[in-house]
């Protein structure tokens, strides 16, 4: 259990990158990029986890309670926003590319470029 979550993180990065390298469809590549990014959430939260720690909300528990790290959670939240923003922008590129080139295969897109 010491390192298992981190192995999963490495797996997610690897498989996401594998998807980007092998995929022949831009929208799918964007999904793989989402997968790559999701590894950073898992890593962040795993790094800030404390066995037996409560969630960092002190509405109904005393403030001295042992709780997990709130900072990584804030970072992960920022990260989620970045993900949504970048994905939306990339999708609009994909729509335009399809409109212009009539294909979303990166190989064909490259050979068509001016």
């Amino acid at each position: 259990m010491q390192i298992f979550p981190f192995i999963v993180v490495v797996w997610i990065v690897g498989i996401g990158l594998y998807g980007i390298v092998t995929s022949r469809h831009l929208v799918h590549q964007i999904m793989c990029l989402i997968v790559v990014q999701s590894s950073t959430y898992v890593l962040l939260l795993a790094v800030g986890y404390l066995t037996g720690g409560a969630a960092p909300y002190f509405s109904d528990i005393p403030t001295r309670t042992r709780a997990v790290d709130p900072v990584v959670q804030a970072l992960a939240l920022t990260d989620v926003v970045v993900e949504a923003a970048v994905t939306a922008l990339l999708l609009s590129f994909a729509i335009q590319a399809h409109k212009r080139f009539g294909t979303l295969d990166p190989q064909e897109l490259a050979s068509l470029r001016g």
């Binding site: 993180v9 990065v13 990158l17 980007i20 390298v21 092998t22 995929s23 831009l26 590549q29 990029l33 790559v36 990014q37 590894s39 950073t40 890593l43 962040l44 790094v47 800030g48 790290d69 900072v71 990584v72 970072l75 920022t78 990260d79 970045v82 923003a85 970048v86 922008l89 990339l90 590129f93 994909a94 335009q96 590319a97 212009r100 080139f101 990166p106 190989q107 897109l109 490259a110 050979s111 068509l112 470029r113 001016g114």
Partner: protein, 616 residues
């Protein structure tokens, strides 16, 4: 407390929001929109210049929301400005102001979003330079990135832009996510995000596996941004398609910001733990040399002027990386001055290219041969800037060449000088051919003609005069390069070197940020050799420039001299046999994002293995 720190970033952001909120109003008053954007960018220049003046005697720290660190632990975000970081931010703001002025008459129809995105890009650059928090660095990095992707794709009616923007966005995003993984890793060990605090922690854990791996992962995003081989592929694609005023920023500062990020991260967080090792310095030197050579080769073969300039940026980025990798104050001094000089002349070159596109409707060197004779002023500015890129004194770059090569091994100096000559020659060749009609027009085979015809202008073609708002920024930038170069004879080197020493003193940085100390006499890890403009640097500069002119002329007259041609062609569609080496070169720069990512992963793995070997 210096409120300018916060204002330099938030004023452009507020202006961008205001511009978008009042969009219908501004859409009808284009001049007001331009004015608002130029004034905002100009005010950022002033603010950053004031900050620069304030921090000349020692770095200053600004704590957002007033959360100062207690007992060496920071819970807030800080901005930390020294002369180098504030100076680079100022340079960025100057270029944004210049390109906003240039764009005034450049785009026929420009939506408000262009101005807003440029201002957001400016805020991202400023925040990236000034921040002292590693996650905050990532946020500004991403902000800069998202604005840059959108600006690259600004002309979606063309075939090119989307391809370039997509490759740019995907490669950079992967780099950024790897950087974030590195940040998470170092946070997992140190429980800190403040760079000074992390620096204090890593110094207590020298050579730890976690530190080594975090270093490389954080570097990943920055290396992609800095276009270091093999992470450079996106750059030419993005430059070829981005609007010219945007290219000014990409080549002038964005790539250099990647290099600055490497230096910042190294000296604030990792210097103590990695210990300025000889092997690491050598690794960066080799990486820089390879980048310089690859950039120069592609640059020389290119005929699309914007791509040509982009490859020259890659080449110079390699030289800069090697200079930073010296770890000595003189190397960093050289890099800093080189960045200024390069940014000014490269920006002027891009603006001149923009004028050519505006007036003549193409950026194809072959088709333009001799067409630019009427553009006398543009030709002059271009020629001056091109000679500046080739290190001609008194343009700033000649100063830096000697400093950054100082103490390097002989073979590296030879390689870098050769690369400067080759890129300088390529840029001069374009200038001489286009504006002065020197030599023979490069070969015009049907294939090339068809390719050239694909180029279309960013503006309606066939303008009869060049607006002053386009030529003046270019002339001013080239003039600034001369002026700053002259300062080199009046002690510029010593001043920058003092700043470099300060930048490299990790102990002083940590004390300043975490304990509010004012360090009067920072100590660099290596003794500071004197940075002065000597007769030798002038002589080298003249020799390099002369060499560039000679190579340029040889290329232009190559047919009469029966030399082989080197222009870029499309091997895929080419009928006749093609030299194997050129084929391989084309194969790398394939434009297929899958390839780029595969190279990125392989490159990172090799770098990681080497760094791990060196440190352990």
């Amino acid at each position: 407390m210096n409120q300018l720190f916060a204002l330099a970033v938030t004023v452009p952001l507020a202006a961008a929001a205001a511009i978008c909120a009042l969009r219908p109003f501004f859409d009808r008053r284009r001049w007001l929109l331009d004015l608002a954007a130029i004034v905002t960018a100009g005010s950022v220049v002033v603010m950053l210049a004031l900050i620069m003046a304030r921090v000349a005697g020692g770095d200053q720290v600004y704590w957002f929301a007033g959360f100062r660190p207690a007992r060496g632990v920071a819970i807030g975000i800080d901005f930390e400005a020294g002369s180098l970081s504030a100076g680079l931010a100022t340079l960025g703001a100057v270029l944004v102001t210049a390109s906003m002025t240039f764009s005034r008459r450049y785009f026929e129809r420009v939506a408000t979003y262009y101005h807003a995105l440029m201002l957001i890009f400016l805020a991202g650059m400023t925040g990236f330079c000034l921040t002292g928090d590693i996650f905050d660095l990532f946020v500004w990095f991403e902000l800069m990135g998202v604005a840059a992707y959108a600006l690259t794709a600004y002309r979606p009616e063309e075939r090119g832009p989307l391809q370039g923007a997509l490759n740019f966005a995907i490669t950079n995003s992967i780099g950024a996510y790897l950087s974030l993984s590195g940040i998470a890793l170092v946070y997992g060990g140190s429980g800190a995000l403040n760079m000074a605090q992390i620096g204090a922690w890593t110094t207590r854990h020298p050579g730890s596996r976690l530190v080594v791996v975090a270093f490389l992962l954080i570097l990943a995003g920055l290396l992609v941004k800095a276009a270091i081989v093999p992470f450079h592929f996106w750059l030419a694609d993005a430059h070829a398609v981005a609007p010219t005023p945007v290219c000014v920023l990409f080549s002038g500062v964005m790539v250099e910001l990647g290099l600055y990020g490497i230096a910042r991260v190294y000296w604030s967080m990792f210097a103590g733990a990695l210990g300025h090792q000889y092997g690491l310095s050598r690794l960066l030197l080799v990486l820089g040399a390879v980048t310089a050579v690859v950039g120069a080769l592609y640059c020389f073969r290119e005929r699309h002027i914007k791509r040509l300039l982009a490859f020259s940026t890659i080449s110079h980025s390699g030289i800069l990386l090697a200079a930073i990798g010296r770890f000595a104050p003189l190397g960093l001094t050289g890099a800093a001055v080189y960045i200024i000089g390069h940014a000014l002349v490269k920006a002027a070159l891009f603006l001149c290219t923009g004028i050519v596109l505006h007036r003549l409707g193409t950026v194809d060197e072959v088709r333009l041969h001799g067409q630019g004779r009427r553009l006398r002023a543009t030709g002059l500015v271009y020629a001056v800037a091109a000679l500046g890129l080739a290190d001609l004194p008194p343009l700033t770059t000649f100063l830096a060449e000697g400093w950054s090569d100082e103490a390097g091994p002989g073979w590296a100096v030879a390689i870098f000088l050769a690369c400067v000559i080759v890129t300088g020659a390529a840029v001069l060749r374009v200038g001489l051919g286009v504006f002065y009609g020197v030599g023979d027009p490069p070969g015009e085979d049907p294939q090339q003609a068809r390719e050239a015809a694909e180029e279309t202008g960013e503006t309606v073609t066939g303008r009869h005069h060049t607006p002053l708002s386009m030529i003046i920024p270019a002339a001013v930038l080239a003039g600034a390069a001369i002026a700053i170069g002259c300062l080199g004879f009046a002690g510029l080197g010593a001043a920058v070197e003092a700043a470099a020493v300060r930048f490299q003193d990790q102990g002083a940085y940590i004390a300043t940020v975490l304990h509010g100390a004012r360090i009067a006499h920072p100590v660099a890890p290596f003794p500071a050799a004197e940075a002065s403009a000597s007769g030798a640097s002038v002589a080298t500069g003249v020799a390099v420039a002369a060499g560039s002119v000679a190579v340029a002329l040889l290329t232009l007259y190559r047919r009469r001299l029966r030399l082989p041609g080197l222009y870029r062609r499309r091997p895929r569609r080419l009928a006749r046999p093609w030299p194997r080496a050129a084929m391989i070169l084309e194969g790398f720069q394939s434009g297929v994002i899958n390839d780029y990512v595969a190279w990125l992963v392989l490159g990172l793995a090799c770098l990681g293995g080497l760094i791990a070997l060196i440190v352990h």
